[in-house]
Amino acid sequence: MEASAIIDILKPLVPGVALEPGQSVDFATIYVPADRLVETCLVLRDAPALEFKVLAEVTAADYLPREPRYEVVYHLLSISKRLRLRLKVRVPGNGSLPTVQSVWRGAGWPEREVWDMFGIVFDNHGDLRRLLMPEDWEGHPQRKDYPVQIRKATQTYEPLEVSEEEFRANIERDRVKRAH
């Protein structure tokens, strides 16, 4: 199905949304504005003519120095209609977009990975922590302005220090616990 055909189905169901077909060599690509993303996704999932029940993946690409800088890419799959669709959302350098976890539960980790790698914020995500990189990592490695070869100082931790008094107090507390 062509991108324009999918847009024609979507137009009456998501009134007033500015959808834009994109160039592609494999399957239809549609640009969606970030503020209408969740609405559009719900229609894509539930419309009987489309039924995009599976979100295959979420990823992004950094097109520095172009502005808006990022494109977040959603690959949708409709098994019943044998159809694939690529949704793209343009996100500026400090912008954010809503999470689609309410539409597809499996979006949680891929969105977390996109935040981890690109620093693109997903509003109302609920669990936007580091996924692949260590928790104390600085920067977002997949950005184009992130240096390729860097060295990070080895992380060291203070050895655990317990004073004599604390040590005795711990032992005493354990003994009291066991006695009860």
Partner: protein, 393 residues
């Protein structure tokens, strides 16, 4: 009398636990033996392959992506090669497609053998691992024969294959295909009706079809829950539509259903391999005829000036790929293995992203095992067939 302690216990499983398939860490909250919640932590095997790929030329990425899903190396490189070829607009000769199908199916067998061995071992059938690894050894020998490398052959290249098939290839593959079905019967005699195995797997870790789709689980997990989605049938590539095979499914959605689906899949793979090896002539073309991408044959490089220049250009500057983006999915052993590439029109990829089936599977594990026993968790991880290299990339 002292009150009964009712608080839950937090247990750290992994990242170096034998049943977590590498370096997956699970923080379990337990009430006795019952799992209250699971929090998976991944990233221990993150090697930044996608970032590294952006610094390499297009053809140099093939060995890199093979190291992502290290148990199904050639399904990574096949997905990558297919998507670059799609952007370049190349079509492959029939023989190349047939060899690729054969390699992909042998790779599926090799990957499923490791799954079978480790999954059965974790459930208690330890000897299964040795039987499975022994057969996989023969498949690694085939890899060694075609490329000289057992794990990451890099035999599939952009624009075709590395070189022609070696002498004795057909005999080796046929020998394996004749031997393997009897071994499959042996495996099934050990497990399929094994009472202990069935008690550990039946009704355990049930995934409904609705949930599988919600969590983005495709491949054997979804097919064990009643889906018939297989990329080879729905979006055929490499001429899979010309092969005669069925997609095995089950409806129960439990660990045992996934086991049956994968076992049936292996038998189908043998079937496809037999058809493919009959079609492949011992010698013939091994690449398309696009001189931008495929280096000229060595004898011409030594005798013809143009060929020497072309050879030099490909290996020094590389080739350019038209600007655009493209996603090509293939049916890997673990499910839909897709490669999303973005090109800016230069000789290096702008972005390479693999859709990792293990990544989605690990994300869904907490929802599958909640309320079950720790022993079931081991069975569920085994039946999800996760590979941490695939998950963390």
């Amino acid at each position: 009398m002292a009150e009964l302690r009712t608080e839950t216990m937090t247990v750290n499983m992994g990242p170096q636990h034998p049943s977590t398939h590498g370096v997956l860490r699970l923080v379990l909250e337990l009430d006795g033996e019952v799992i209250q919640s699971v929090m998976p932590t991944i990233g221990y095997l993150h090697t930044g392959i996608e970032k590294t790929a952006e610094q390499k030329k297009w053809q140099q990425v093939i060995p890199l992506v093979e190291r992502m899903d290290y148990l199904a190396a050639q399904s990574n490189s096949l997905a990558y090669a297919l998507s670059v070829e799609k952007l370049l607009g190349l079509t492959m000769p029939q023989r190349v497609n047939d060899i690729r199908v054969l390699i992909a199916e042998l790779q599926r067998l090799a990957s499923h053998l490791i799954w079978l061995g480790t999954h059965a071992m974790e459930i208690g059938a330890v000897s299964m691992l040795f039987y499975a690894i022994r057969e996989r050894e023969l498949l690694l020998n085939i890899n060694e024969l075609i490329a000289g490398f057992r794990f990451f052959p890099s035999y599939i290249r952009i624009g075709g294959l590395r070189e022609d098939l070696p002498r004795g290839f057909h005999e080796t593959v046929n020998e394996f295909l004749d031997r393997f079905p009897t071994k499959m019967d042996e495996f099934e005699r050990l497990l399929t009706k094994n009472d202990i195995f069935r008690r550990r797997t039946e009704g355990v870790g049930v995934v409904t079809l609705e949930n599988a789709y919600q969590w983005g689980l495709l491949g054997p997990i979804a097919r064990g829950a009643g889906s018939d989605y297989d990329v080879r049938k729905y979006f055929p590539y490499c001429g899979y539509e010309t092969y005669d095979f069925v997609v095995p499914t089950a409806t129960e959605g439990d660990v045992y259903a996934r086991y049956r689906v994968r076992i049936a899949e292996m038998r189908q793979s043998i079937n496809i391999c037999r058809q493919a090896i009959k079609r492949i002539s011992p010698t013939g073309v091994w690449a398309c005829d696009d001189t931008r991408v495929v280096p000229p044959p060595k004898d011409k490089v030594y005798t013809e000036m143009e060929a020497l220049i072309q050879h030099f250009l490909i290996y020094s500057q590389g080739f350019t790929v038209p600007a655009g983006d493209c996603y090509v999915p293939i049916e890997g052993p673990r499910g839909e293995h897709g490669c999303y590439i973005v090109s800016d029109g230069s000789n290096r990829p702008w972005r390479v992203k693999m859709r990792a089936p293990s990544f989605m599977a690990i994300q869904a594990i907490p929802s599958i095992v909640q309320g079950g026993l720790i022993a079931d968790l081991v069975a569920v991880i085994g039946s999800s067939d996760v590979v941490m290299g695939d998950c963390d990339r």
